[in-house]
């Protein structure tokens, strides 16, 4: 998935989970986004896992504090699951 698409997908998932009309900015931090508390973080984690088809480690889960932190995890994990090009 192109990087811009992945960022847009993460922003969309966060907005849907929070019930927000507009996606948060790509550089938004959790504490700056209305309704993004620890309960919401857990729901966002599960939604991201369902969408991308991977399961986060505990360390990854605890590192989530922003849209960018989720994008970093999704980028790394989706790259790991792509077939190697010869």
């Amino acid at each position: 998935m192109p990087a811009n698409d992945l960022v847009a997908t993460v922003r969309s998932i966060v907005a849907a989970t929070l019930g927000a009309a507009d996606p948060p900015a790509a550089d938004a931090r959790a504490r700056e986004v209305a309704g993004w508390d620890s309960h919401a973080t857990v729901q966002i984690i599960f939604a991201i896992e369902d969408h991308f088809g991977f399961e986060m480690t505990g360390e990854e889960m605890e590192s989530i504090d922003s849209v960018a932190s989720i994008v970093a995890i999704a980028t790394r994990r989706t790259a790991m699951s792509m077939p190697a090009r010869s």
């Binding site: 508390d37 620890s38 309960h39 857990v42 984690i45 889960m61 605890e62 989530i64």
Partner: protein, 311 residues
Amino acid sequence: MSIAPEELAAEIRAQGLIVPTAVSGVVAQGRGFAEVADALVAAIRRLTAGVGEYLRFGAVMPRDQAVAMRYFANFPQLLGSIHCFCGSDAEHRALLRAHDAGEPWADALPPVELVLTPAACYPCYAILAARGAVPAAGYRLQVDATCFRHEPSDDPARLQSFRMQEVVAIGQPDAVVSFREHWLAASADFLARLGLEGDVAPADDPFFGRAAAVMAKAQRERELKFEWRTPVSDAARPTACLSANYHLDSFAKAFGLRFDDGSHAHSACVGFGVERIALALFRTHGMVAEAWPVEVVDLLRLEGTPRADIR
């Protein structure tokens, strides 16, 4: 005479203070233990008498309230659910036939509108929300309840059914945080006057599953929970006898507890674990309550208890 934590379980059983049942973490209290626990409840009630409205809850609360407070989501492993038979004569006969044939029958008892109360303050928020807008000064309460958490254990300090007393504040954020700080300090002082030595430490709740790390981290970062702990049954793992919690606006949002301006109230509580404190007293001062230091006996007003009644 104090007792080593590791010897407490055997000693209190030998003295008949705690009588195990067939289920771990479910016990009967002998008279000596029950007298102390009752005296402790009364002493805590005297300590907190000026706080505000008093409410005593039973062992059950409305299921939909526990759901609204996300207890079922955060602690499904601890929640006790009430199930009852609500069927017809024919369904009753089918139930008995299944039982007598050794077949599964529990499905004939569906969940009803109740769960077991997991914390003393949980049933109070819906009651207050039904009164309308939160007053500018907020609410202050004393609450008692018999609580349940499904934590089977042979540790006498970890019962599945236990008594909890709390003081609760609902109001502006600064006010409820100050309330929590005041009552944590006052409650710790009360325990010190009972001769108990312990420490206050940041804490987190036993959230279920993979989400636990996220939730616990948030609790610690935002300093939402503190416990006063003392060695009771395990010297290496002190037991929490007091719990001081700041709920932010989560419980208020669950029930629409708002001020006149529409903003949500915040809430906080400080809870006493009655049986755990009683155990700490027995461990610290010995198995016979009349032999405890006079200031402890006086504070608990135990002096009138006939010795013959205390085993």
